[in-house]
Amino acid sequence: MAYSDKVIDHYSNPRNVGTLDKSKKNVGTGLVGAPECGDVMRLQIEVDEATNTITDAKFKTFGCGSAIASSSLATEWLKGKSIDEALAIDNMEIVEELALPPVKIHCSVLAEDAIKSAISDYRVKNGLPALELSHH
């Protein structure tokens, strides 16, 4: 399969690979996917509670090049965004940016799920109700 230059770039030089301290109250963790489906993404955000802004984002992904690129791109986009702005990220924006082919759209869906799941975790840790996660 031919990958776009942007996918290859993110795969070869992934941004923000790593782990945040999940015991911290201002860190939200999302773990989505399943090993038998061939994709598992873990996406973490660190939030500045005073401004409700995402100050850091890290990921680790088990998956194909498109899955790695989708999560790498997501962490890039998340930094500096408010929680509300982050919630507005739509998987189709990732598809467009990375020029994902139709068979790889599920990778972008998973990245969107990971963002929402991380935000939900952050909310729960801070006494807010969990987000209703729509499973695609």
Binding site: C37, C64, H106, H135
Partner: protein, 404 residues
């Protein structure tokens, strides 16, 4: 200077040996006659080339030159062997025994004869990829006309106990066929000593051209016949019609001759290289060799790297032309049915790489491959949440994964 990518997918196909091409060239140019033209020198010259090829082939597998039926390749040979026996021996019975790790050319042909009313037993394999002789014995019935079990597996290289299988088939009055595609030309295959009645093989897995193969059909003890699957001029003793592919056949002949003369040296060199590759790659934690290490072809290894995903791995080893255990042509990943039959979980089947070495593989290429795979696996694991959890001692099977 090392040329990239490096070709290590020689179980899919091998490059043409220049000596084979040289032997073929006259038959692609001046000697263009139809081998069936008996009335002029053009035909005679072509027939001579074909006859010589039959001699070269029969010497490699220890048969009579009249026992070789030329086809378009191993897929056609598998079809002709199985369907041909099913039709020819329908009075005797309708039961065929094969195994789950066969090539699709055998499995799908067996499915076809099931649709025609045949009965097929698909024997399971153990974790090494070997069938159980006790299972085979138990599956034999008075209706069994054919046992067809491949010689060496294309994905793992595992070699089945061919002689013992042949004995059991014969003891019950059934014919024994083998798909020798990966084995012929790589290891000594002796149809007499092995007790093989029918064998499919092809040129392009042993440095010959694509589009030509053969079916060995035994002529005595017992005399075996297969019903032709194409109607026409009655070539090849009535078993396979169609004008002979003379240059291809000459190429197959030359490839067999070279294989016979160079097999010992090739085997020694390739197995040493394969073992070195394997030893180095299995120094990576959580890497597993698939298939039998004791009974296998000398030039193949198949290794799974746990906690990395197959497609990501293939992208990471872009400087190598290798095969992976996942056939990911769509969003739904299909792990290799051969590795699944060995009992591998989907994720281990997906994260496997098959390395197939050839006569033309160099030590320098193997050195590069070792470094390249190690680097890719290490990098992907650093990126893998599953690897991190494994390292922290988390039992991944206990996690409730959100299926999507």
């Amino acid at each position: 200077m090392l040329k990239l990518p490096i070709y290590l997918d020689n179980n899919a196909t091998t490059p043409l040996d220049p000596r084979v091409l040289e032997a073929m060239m006259p038959y692609l140019t001046d000697v263009f006659g139809n081998a069936a033209s008996r009335n002029h020198p053009f035909g005679w010259a072509a027939e001579e080339g074909v006859d010589y090829a039959r001699e070269q082939i029969s010497k490699l597998i220890n048969c009579d030159s009249k026992e070789i039926i030329f086809t378009s390749g191993a897929t056609e040979s598998d079809n002709l062997g199985i369907k041909g026996v099913f039709e020819m021996y329908s009075q005797k019975g309708n039961h065929v025994i094969t195994c789950t790790t066969e090539h699709k050319a055998v499995l799908d042909t067996c499915k076809h004869i099931e649709k025609l009313g045949g009965k097929v037993t698909y024997l399971p394999v153990d974790e090494k990829g070997l069938i159980s002789l006790a299972d085979l014995e138990a599956a034999m019935t008075p209706e069994t006309i054919l046992v067809t079990i491949m010689y060496g597996n294309n994905e793992t290289g595992t070699i089945q106990p061919i002689r013992e299988i042949a004995k059991i088939a014969h003891a019950h009055g059934a014919l024994f066929m083998t798909d020798g595609t990966q084995a012929v030309g790589k290891i000594p295959v002796d149809v007499l000593a092995d007790g093989i009645d029918i064998m499919a093989f092809t040129a392009h897995k042993m440095y010959g051209p694509k589009g030509v193969g053969a079916l060995y059909v035994r002529r005595k003890n017992p005399r075996v016949k297969v019903t032709a699957q194409m109607d026409g001029g009655g070539h090849e003793r009535g078993m396979r019609s169609g004008t002979l592919n003379v240059p291809g056949i000459v190429g197959l002949g030359k490839a067999c001759e070279l294989a016979r003369l160079e097999m010992a040296a090739d085997t020694a060199r390739l197995s040493a290289m394969r073992d070195r590759l394997e030893k180095e790659l299995t120094t990576l934690e959580e890497s597993y060799i698939n298939g039998s290490v004791e009974h296998r072809l000398p030039h193949v290894t198949n290794i799974s790297f746990k906690y990395v995903e197959g497609e990501g791995l293939m992208m990471g080893v872009k400087d190598l032309a290798v095969s992976s255990g996942s056939a990911c042509t769509s969003a739904s990943l299909e792990p290799s049915y051969v590795l699944k039959a060995l009992g591998l979980s989907d994720d281990l089947a997906h994260s496997s790489l098959r390395f197939g070495l050839s006569r033309f593989t160099t030590d320098e290429q193997i050195d590069y491959a070792i470094g390249h795979v190690k680097e890719a696996v290490t990098k992907l694991r650093e990126m893998s949440p599953l690897w991190e959890m494994f390292k922290e001692g988390v039992d991944l099977s206990k996690i409730e994964w959100a299926e999507h």
